[in-house]
Symmetry: C2
Subunit: 507 residues, 2 copies
């Protein structure tokens, strides 16, 4: 069938073309089926979507990125024929049936994900078969390698160090202390991080309050040549792009199979040239590890896979019962981190940051075994970490003289008060996260929450347990209503709800 | 956020709205996320897709069916706010984690599928969790009931009989004999069937050669009042619509979990008022049952589930090694069925049809036990079945006097010859199906193949094993090339390929 090219803009996949319903019927194809499309220049396989009105009979709708790939012109004629499903889908099917896949099979799947040859539905089938059938260590190794090989790679001429967290703990701004401590000790730490998907602030969101974070590979190399450390967003580097595309289906389905999680972490770090990584594995409600056993099993697997890929990974299983420090939300976290670098800051933040940084200092041979944390604290107390952080901020294009009080915080403020005297017995991470998000974090940088009291603190009736900051008044109302309903901080002995409500009667 | 309504036409789901990228960013929503949309008349939840150009900032793109649901006007202002995922998705997640679901949970999922509140990705997660986790009998019962209750129901005032097949055997035109035999014996058989999705001709495609097959519930009742039997397409009746929507994701993923298969079959039949069903379960390569054990397990489950839904199901496990009869493709099959009703036709077709019909005659009490097939053959031989079929064709609006030679067959013809003397040792159903489809079936009614020789037949070199018919010359070429390559009929002792090819050399 010959069809004329028309431009359309639908976001359902890179290689999706739009056919008129009656042309699709004549070709015998249905949505999600594949067709071969041929111009005088190029031939490639695309997936079909159908429409009654956007393209007429005799037309084929092409998206702008696909037009570029095809090198075709509007109005040009394309030859369209039916074609079979790609072999990568056969391999996904093989996995769904419970079989193991070899390197070539996994590579074909990952390559087709990156090249847009598999639909979201098909990627979901691959992810869910990993979730349900599982992958053995060899398969996870293949998956990791394939992800690295289908993306960009950066190579530094010396050993590079890094820190990563499996996530799930709000307020985890430790990287803003770890990077300058480690860089100040002379090690190379080109930290790439993500923007928040499910959390109130990713490390890249928090750092962005202090300096720009979008850099390409060349710029990253320049940055660390000057300062030994950087805190940038990994999204502009095209590292392991298969991972980003997979996350797009994992997110709506709320799945994150262990095999995919391991491959994702290792592939991103290998791609950016990291040789030694410390991995923070928080355990507890709201994190990806429900028990110590899960965390230990995960740690063993990730150590093995990274060894196979010639990277050394050291894991630190950490307590995830409540936020790290007191602040949650980009600006509030950046402020708290800066205060800690300046000699203040909460104990939990300083202990966790220097613990993980110390681990890296030992691995890098700049601190003796078991002396890493002491050395990290010394670097922090001496002001060297602050000085290094100001260099990094300046190199990335921020204001090196920024003071905590300069950082703009959302002006709309409300608080949640203790209803009784007592001790704080519980802080609910999931509720804290939702309240901060309702207040506008991470998009509104100044939005978030400050926990004045954490577990074990003694409080008196009327004390402000939680302060909510928002940039917009309606967001403040949403967040406050949510906080009142979900009670994220529990004081022992406090009545959670009275029944019947005042004036009501028990019926 | 307030947005102005604009009409768009994208086929990505009933309740999908299109937002401009920057509005989506401001709202903090990503593709697949949900938003609450409110007009002065209605409030409902929709799923988000984003675009850079189809709708501008400040606009919301609404599809025509959604516009109808909303009762909104173009240019009207809608209030858009974020909202959480529906509870049905929580239940899908519960299933994904390996838990069993209760009736209310399964009903919520099925209702949300029917109402367009779950995306294809989410429906895929439900289907794949059935595939991987499995469902117990109680869950399958809930699934079946929920499918029935979310669709239309038809009720006849007397017991209705039906025949169904789990499929996978090309050329299975037995219903065109069974329906008139059973109706001629006085039983009510309002047969609804499907058009082909993966086969070269569904029963509805084949019947459509002889008479129209699209009728609504009232028309079906009128039809069987006159003739006691009908052969219509089930697609216009809105029976168990959740099943049709689920098939849309099962098809591209090529999965069909047992729980879904059972619920689908039973729900469709219960919805159309069937009380007694004979189920043909073909076993073998290309069918849904790979072994006798699989077929027996399936038979036991479906008998139990249909009992719980107050329908009696009787299963017949059948041989599926090669096509039934000789003809594959709508017109060729209709012709073969008509010839069989007129006293001719191949033994395999007559044996299978009268066997299954006889089963129904025994169930309906019009034949003694073990005498059903004899009675069915008598009805066939006496011409009563032919007379009944002509009544049915007339009632449905076809030509009651149609003769086999009147049926138009594709004029472009090619054949595949035996390359050696010997016996046919193998006929490959999957290849036969693909060749018939390449020739144009089922869309081109006259396209298909005729197998002159089947397993065990003695052939001489040069005999025409397979005749291919097509309506279009290019389709004939495609089908012939495929037949030459795949060798669907194997003659024992035949050289499959010579190497090196004539004139070539072994390197």
């Amino acid at each position: 069938m010959n069809l004329n090219v028309k431009m359309v803009d639908i976001l359902t996949g890179l290689k999706v073309v739009l056919l008129n319903n009656s042309d699709a019927l004549n070709l015998g194809v249905r949505p999600h089926d594949r067709i071969k499309v041929k111009t005088h220049k190029r031939e490639l396989t695309a997936m079909v979507n159908v429409t009654d009105s956007y393209v007429n009979q005799g037309e084929i709708g092409i998206t702008p990125p696909l037009k570029k790939l095809f090198e075709c012109d509007i109005g040009e004629t394309m030859e369209v024929t039916t074609t079979s499903i790609p072999s990568s889908m056969e391999y996904i099917h093989k996995k769904m049936k419970g079989n193991s896949l070899n390197y070539n099979e996994i590579y074909a799947i990952i390559e087709d994900i990156v090249e847009g040859n598999l639909s979201e539905l098909e990627i979901a089938a691959f992810v869910l078969s990993q979730q349900f059938v599982g992958m053995n260590l060899d398969e996870i190794e293949h998956l990791t390698r394939s992800m690295v090989e289908t993306g960009e790679k950066i190579d530094f001429d010396e050993p590079a160090f890094d820190k990563h967290s499996t996530g799930g703990v709000p307020g985890n701004k430790v990287s803003l202390l770890i990077v300058p401590i480690v860089a100040a000790a002379g090690l190379l730490i080109p930290k790439t991080s993500s923007k928040a998907i499910t959390s109130p602030s990713g490390t890249a969101d928090t750092m962005e309050v202090l300096a720009p974070v979008s850099f390409n590979a060349e710029e990253l190399k320049e940055l660390v040549k000057k300062t030994r450390g950087a805190l940038i967003w990994g999204g502009a580097l095209n590292l392991a792009p298969a991972d980003d595309l997979t996350i797009q289906v994992e997110h709506p389905l709320r799945v994150d199979p262990v095999s995919q999680m391991i491959a994702s972490i290792i592939a991103k770090k290998i791609s950016v040239g990291v040789d030694n990584m410390v991995l923070d594995i928080p355990v507890g409600a709201g994190t990806k590890m429900e028990s110590m056993e899960d965390a230990e099993r995960f740690a063993n697997m990730i150590v093995e896979i990274s060894k196979r890929l010639k990277m050394a990974t050291y894991c630190a299983i950490t307590y995830a019962g409540q936020p790290v420090g007191h602040a949650v939300g980009p600006a509030l976290e950046a402020k708290e981190a800066l205060e800690a670098l300046m000699g203040g800051g909460p104990t939990s933040l300083i202990e966790k940051s220097t613990g993980l940084a110390g681990f890296l200092l030992e691995l890098g041979g700049v601190a003796p075994e078991n002396k890493g944390q002491d050395y990290a604290k010394e670097i922090l107390r001496s002001g060297k970490a602050l000085k290094k952080m100001r260099e990094i901020i300046e190199a990335q294009g921020g204001d090196p003289n920024v003071k905590p009080e300069d950082i703009p915080i959302g002006e709309h403020v409300a608080s949640l008060e203790a209803k009784a005297d007592g001790y704080v017995t519980n802080v609910d991470n999931k509720s804290i996260t939702k309240i901060a998000q309702a207040a506008g974090a991470p998009r509104d940088k100044g939005a978030g929450v400050v926990l004045n009291y954490k577990r074990g603190y003694k409080v008196s009736r009327g004390d402000k347990l939680l302060i909510i900051h928002a940039e917009k008044e309606n967001k403040l109302h949403e967040a406050t209503a949510l906080a009142t309903r979900t009670m994220p901080i529990i004081v022992e002995g406090m009545l959670l709800q009275k029944f019947p409500k005042f004036g009501g009667k028990v019926s």
